[in-house]
Symmetry: D2
Subunit: 367 residues, 4 copies
């Protein structure tokens, strides 16, 4: 119900605006006796930190979390876990000049239409800054995945028209490659081309869209609840809750629409090694009937180009008068939101899996 | 929470299996004093009726609904509306022979993994038959849209590699064109090619995927609740709750990932006719920051090819023994699930809009 | 959210009006592979059947359920279980004469104020008839309790000013005594006095209030989720969802308000037999901090007198004109709603426990 | 679902332990453009401040809230409102000595059974300290009530065996009397007796239970959603979510169980002044069929005696060894939790009303 909450049993509620005192998250439903420290969360957050490279917004966030509740003596207690991330030094003065202008591609117009008011400072609630809380929460959620040796990895598949060539064998190696890349793209050659293009486009005062792919490995079969809480449906909602996302596909995705049943159907075989039934291929992307098959989840997420650009754009102000919107010099923004989106896609995958694991446990009646 | 329910305020709960006594839906939260009759629902259901053409499953459903509650003297009372659709004559004997085989592309394997049991008759709960309840519910939900003159239209965009050329001007005309087409494709020329191809593929014992597009017209700005109940996120979940859906995109969708900000951003202008601020283009597909802009919602949904095919497929039985699965002659199934998907996509759009309308009303504090 | 649903994981949605075609329930979240038959449910429903004795409404319901979904080959499948109870022969003509009168103590006034319309036939949605669905659902829910050997027993504690003297030792014996009593009161002597009084009051055209007590035995410690989903809070909501309930207390209840801490606090001891820590007394009624202690849950529920009486009452019609409301001769109603309330209190206890059991399982991370 | 959240549309999520860094609340679903300041919230919180009199715990909280989000330029924006209340100087050392003892009447045993771990410092999550977040949230919720001129007042009805004699005429006057009383009891004579008794019992190292009554005035008819979200059912859940509550009744409450229908039923009349239909009496306590009648809501809540007492009590430690628990000298606790409970009862009433108002607005389709 509550629009700022996600998940059924492992449930997060995020709060905070880009230029308010803090952003944060409350996690409700986290199992007890999970070991967690602020340091662990800080380490993951530092990966998404803007300011580290020229390819993400130069805002020096240097985020340090404070765990305010739900953790005692280094372990979760079952009580709600509140995590605070102070916004630190924010200078909202740059936003004052253009506070009354409707910013193309941004949400201030729709917030105004919905609420009759908007916080113009740094994107307010609609800022990608909100996602810091999700990433923080996912660090704790990931502990439940570790227990089952489930691994999640997201990465850049394309930026603009540059498409990476990625051949996934080992998810551990893949994660390492992603970590090494300044733009989270495991294909080094393509990554270079992407970075060159980003610089060029940036120099023109423009921005780029991109595509993020993700895989989830080691997931047991049987997760996801038909029919409206299908694993796939919850993933779709999760991905579309991320700012700038315009598309989501699973397995063959849109390509499946062009295939025949005989091509797309995955057969079954009995795996003597594992003693389990498995799929002979994975066109389905790890999900059938909304429930996990035990094969790898494979999905892709399309991010629109960052709406913040230096090129002047025609618009109006809140009163309807014609204006030209030009991003103030020195504004902080990402040239391609997909890059920082990688961390958020991964976080949302983790949250969907953690929730599905708890849901599935609830059904293990009498076992 | 409950996995068979959808919507927050206008909330449906569906039930029923393909070969059980009935499928149905309970609608909770429907405003009172809405005029509705069984006949109105029957008319819409008849549109999705298989058996009408050679392009959908020959199951002669002839669905007639019974409204069991929540309607008195032709009007909704505010009480939950239960609608029952009896399954009529179902012959499950054909399914007995193959009841222990894992059917490629179907959900019996995942249901088995999740629940330790599955209803093998006609796809059980995973059958598209479940969607009849959604369509029935959407007929009542649509009444709230009528009040605001909001219109929804879904149609076939492509089947296999045949892509329709659709130039939308007037949604009323479009809806009429869709209704006239045996495969719900408003481009008559493409539709012919599609139908020819369907027959050919069918003759080969195979099936086809397809793409459904939809538009929502007349939606006021301000609907949708950031951040996890974004209008777009709820649509995404809705679409992925439909059987066989593998992809969803909004506005430019995946194409946006290849665009620049200066191309993708929509400007604003003041419309002297309406006295409202409007967008100069609609790359965003009617949604910014998860909230409707007042422009047309435009989205696309990818359906995988029908998994039921006559070609023999390698598989195993529940015991892991190698088997060949061959659909029994005379089985009822659609050559392309996307075709019947058109009605379901439309129904889910209507349900998402109705819920968003009620949610938005709840915020109109003191007005 | 949805007002006609109850429970988080074991979730029921009821529908139906007193004089509509049917009442029913959809159960979502029931674990799979639970054995259940229509006959089992019919047997329990027959216990609450009015018409059996002169102490409950002479409506001859003779309820027979139809399970429409979610059960296959005698077992639950994990899919939603829809249960239908047809209303059979209903004669609404008696209600037509007084359809426009506001009935004292009834809900037609408040339904009118809320919805602008009401179904006047037999109490509509506000009728106790709605509770049949809950009782039916509780029969399936009870299977999860059986697994843990948890037992629930509700009974009449008082009717009017007659108070039963009940000394509970064995819940099995108690349940048998309750079953034997025409008014579900295990104290035979008091029951006689109660029945004499009921007849007297009935002859005067009046009705009586009563109090139902319940106990839950064998519940493990640790159920219930602080802080707003406390076991006690969910019980309280459950009880107040029953028509005619005006009070609920747990353990010492209102008497606790007059006690001192040294009297009310329960000590702890180590039980050598069970190898578990236990409470030395049970003033708390089986719950501390909203979580079960492992001791017996003890609660009481106050029912107001049946509002339907033959004595003439001053009222107005919907237009505000003064009228006298006199129940039509031959109307069916209970002289004391508490009597039939016994079954509903028991059903709600079972539903609260089943949900809490599943919730607790969801937290058993990695176990 | 989430156990630390309350409300459907006006939804709060509280977090924090007694001796952690902070307690707080996130409000989701608050309408936009409501004027609010930290100062307003501080003023209300100061009323519940322990340390003000000898009748409440001497903990000097001096709570000052920080609004972290959702408020911009003095108005709510529609975004989630996070409110933080730092716990200030907490000395947990006193709790270390007895950290392994099961404290009679407290929740550390049940938390241990549920979560396998408990935060022993100051009651942890089970502390009444948690309720500060609810009170803070209620200050904002109250703004929606002001709009409709709805007023809520709770007060002490009894402490131990001292029962106040309260004759309510004007809720404004009543609220003033409550505010003037050190123990929130509007009957000055009884209050004196209560205070004398409290001192006596305190001197004996013991504690007292008490009863809180509340009224809600000015509520429109038609609020509350049958059947499981009845206004009364939500109030019952709300009250039982408050620590130490053991009973709740509405209107005549338990007394209704002893009444006859002819006594309990409220008649109707047409009020020429207001032009509305009204009740001739209010035995129902303002609710019929779970929906508000427009008459005054009247309820009572029973609080058990504070479990923290200086008298030595037999118990065991977590290992099951016999121990004597004696509250350390200088521990901070209330002699009677009901006193501080007054503020929390009032807060929960406000939250239930605010949520019901928004729910009702959502149904005003097309108006």
């Amino acid at each position: 119900m509550a629009s700022n909450s996600f998940g059924n049993l492992f449930r997060i509620t995020t709060f905070g605006e880009s230029h308010g005192p803090a952003v944060g998250v409350v996690i409700d439903g986290c199992p007890s006796r999970i070991k967690i420290s602020e340091e662990e969360i800080n380490q993951v957050l530092s990966l998404r930190q803007p300011g580290k490279t020229e390819f993400v917004s130069p805002r020096a966030e240097g985020d340090k979390v404070k765990i305010l509740s739900g953790v005692f003596a280094g372990q979760t207690t079952g009580a709600p876990i509140a995590i605070l991330i102070e916004n630190g030094a924010v200078d909202s003065s740059k936003y004052e000049v253009t506070q009354d202008l409707l910013k193309p591609g941004h949400a201030n117009f729709t917030y105004l239409e919905k609420y009759g008011i908007y916080d113009y400072r740094g994107g307010g609630r609609a800022s990608a800054r909100e996602t810091a809380g999700r990433v923080a929460a996912s660090v704790i959620a990931a502990k439940t995945l570790d227990h089952y040796k489930i691994k999640v990895c997201a990465y850049i598949k394309s930026i603009g028209t540059d498409v990476a060539d990625i051949n996934i064998k080992d998810i551990v190696a893949l994660k390492e490659q992603v970590k090494q890349s300044p733009i989270y793209c495991p294909d080094e050659v393509s990554a270079k081309a992407m970075m060159t293009n980003i610089k060029k486009v940036q120099a023109e005062g423009d921005s780029l869209g991109g595509m993020v792919e993700f895989i989830i490995d080691g997931l047991p079969a049987g997760l996801g609840d038909p029919v409206y809480e299908k694993f796939s449906a919850n993933l779709a909602q999760a991905m579309f809750s991320i700012p700038s996302v315009k598309g989501f596909e699973l397995g063959e995705g849109f390509a499946a629409a062009k295939m025949r049943g005989s091509e797309h159907n995955d057969g079954y075989f009995y795996d003597n090694k594992t003693g389990k039934i498995d799929l002979t291929s994975n066109h389905c992307g790890g999900i059938l009937g909304g429930i996990t098959t035990g094969t790898r989840i494979e999905g892709a997420v399309a991010f629109k180009p960052t709406p913040s650009i230096y090129k002047p754009q025609k618009t109006v102000d809140v009163g309807g008068c014609e204006q030209v919107f030009k991003l103030p010099e020195g504004s902080r923004h990402d040239p391609c939101t997909a890059i920082r989106g990688v961390m958020v896609v991964e976080a949302m995958c983790v949250l969907v899996v953690a929730d599905a694991l708890l849901m599935q446990q609830s059904l293990q009646f009498g076992e």
